[in-house]
């Protein structure tokens, strides 16, 4: 049986059961069985698999037990929204910057190695592909930095209202593009100055 199918089956056999916490306490204290074929109690979650519960409980392999549990819905279930896209992009830009630090390290090591090594590095970074990569790297850096400011602001409990959130997302996106272009204009104006 495929993975998906067993998960579907498990879901269809779930039911909503509510039980007062003290009733649950009493049931566990005198050692009564919590789950029968159509009755089940759980203190933390109202959703409990009724038909599978006993089977799951008696399984000795934790892997087998987890496969009978329902899967939480993942990305493909949701309609893309700005909030989730910005969250995903923040993580992707972070991962990109992670590998991008190697470019900085190579550039600094080349400068420390001597004029010929540095000239090679400058030639590679100054080539068309190099410039495109560095331009994207600049945007990635600024976008992640602005996203970080947004997260720090959220850490103080501010900016959570729907309109504030949307404004922050738009400011992050727009600001990152504008600042990236500005940095590159300044970079080109300063070209060869040092």
């Amino acid at each position: 049986m495929s993975h998906m199918r067993s998960a579907d089956r498990a879901l269809s056999e779930w039911t909503i059961v509510s039980m007062q916490p003290d009733a649950f306490e009493a049931a566990t204290k005198d050692g009564r069985r919590l789950c029968g074929p159509r009755r089940c109690a759980a203190p933390h979650h109202p959703l409990v698999p009724v038909a599978n519960f006993e089977k799951v409980q008696t399984m000795d392999s934790p892997k087998a037990a987890s496969s009978a549990r329902p899967l939480s819905p993942h990305l493909q279930i949701y309609r893309p929204m700005l909030s989730m896209m910005m969250s995903i992009v923040h993580r992707i830009t972070g991962a990109g910057l992670y590998f991008g630090t190697a470019l900085v390290a190579i550039w600094l090591v080349a400068a420390a190695s001597g004029p010929s090594a540095f000239a090679s590095a400058q030639a590679v970074y100054g080539s068309l592909i190099g410039q495109v990569v560095l331009f994207l790297y600049t945007w990635t850096l600024i976008h992640h930095a602005l996203g970080g400011v947004r997260h720090l602001m959220w850490d103080t409990g501010r900016g959570f209202e729907p309109r504030e959130r949307e404004l922050l997302y738009r400011a992050t996106l727009g600001g990152s593009v504008v600042l990236t272009v500005l940095v590159w204009i300044v970079g080109y104006l300063l070209r060869g100055a040092a």
């Binding site: 992670y98 630090t101 420390a112 970079g187 070209r191």
Partner: protein, 124 residues
């Protein structure tokens, strides 16, 4: 089910508390001004000669913030990538290896940048 000792320590299965969260915020705050500085330095050095670049990068007021940025960035990116690995790599052995590689990468990048900056500064 939590033991009284576990409750007192409050560490859970991750064996760590809020240090990770706090360190990520602290390095994020440090990264902000240092990154702005870094972008300025790199923009000023676009297409620069070796002599010009080393003269600038070797100046204490440039080299010191660059070293600070190196430390802060390497710590920040290491714990950031650690979270990504822990979220997506479920195989225990693979996760262990990925977490190790993550630390190695962060140390190699950090030490390379620091060594290069110090060498340029001291001119040996």
């Amino acid at each position: 089910m939590r033991t009284p000792l576990g409750q007192v320590r409050g560490l859970g299965a991750a064996k760590a508390g809020t240090e990770h969260f706090w360190l990520q915020r602290m390095t994020a705050v440090a990264n902000l001004p240092l990154t702005i500085f870094f972008v300025g330095v790199v923009a000023a050095l676009a297409g620069s000669s070796h002599a010009g670049a080393t003269a600038m990068l070797g100046a204490p007021w440039i080299a010191i913030p660059m070293l600070l940025l190196t430390v802060s960035v390497v710590v920040h990116m290491r714990i950031g990538m650690q979270v990504i690995i822990e979220d997506y790599v479920h195989d225990e052995l693979l996760k262990l290896l990925a977490l190790m590689a993550n630390t190695f990468f962060a140390v190699v990048v950090g030490l390379s940048c620091a060594f290069a900056l110090l060498k340029i500064s001291f001119g040996v």
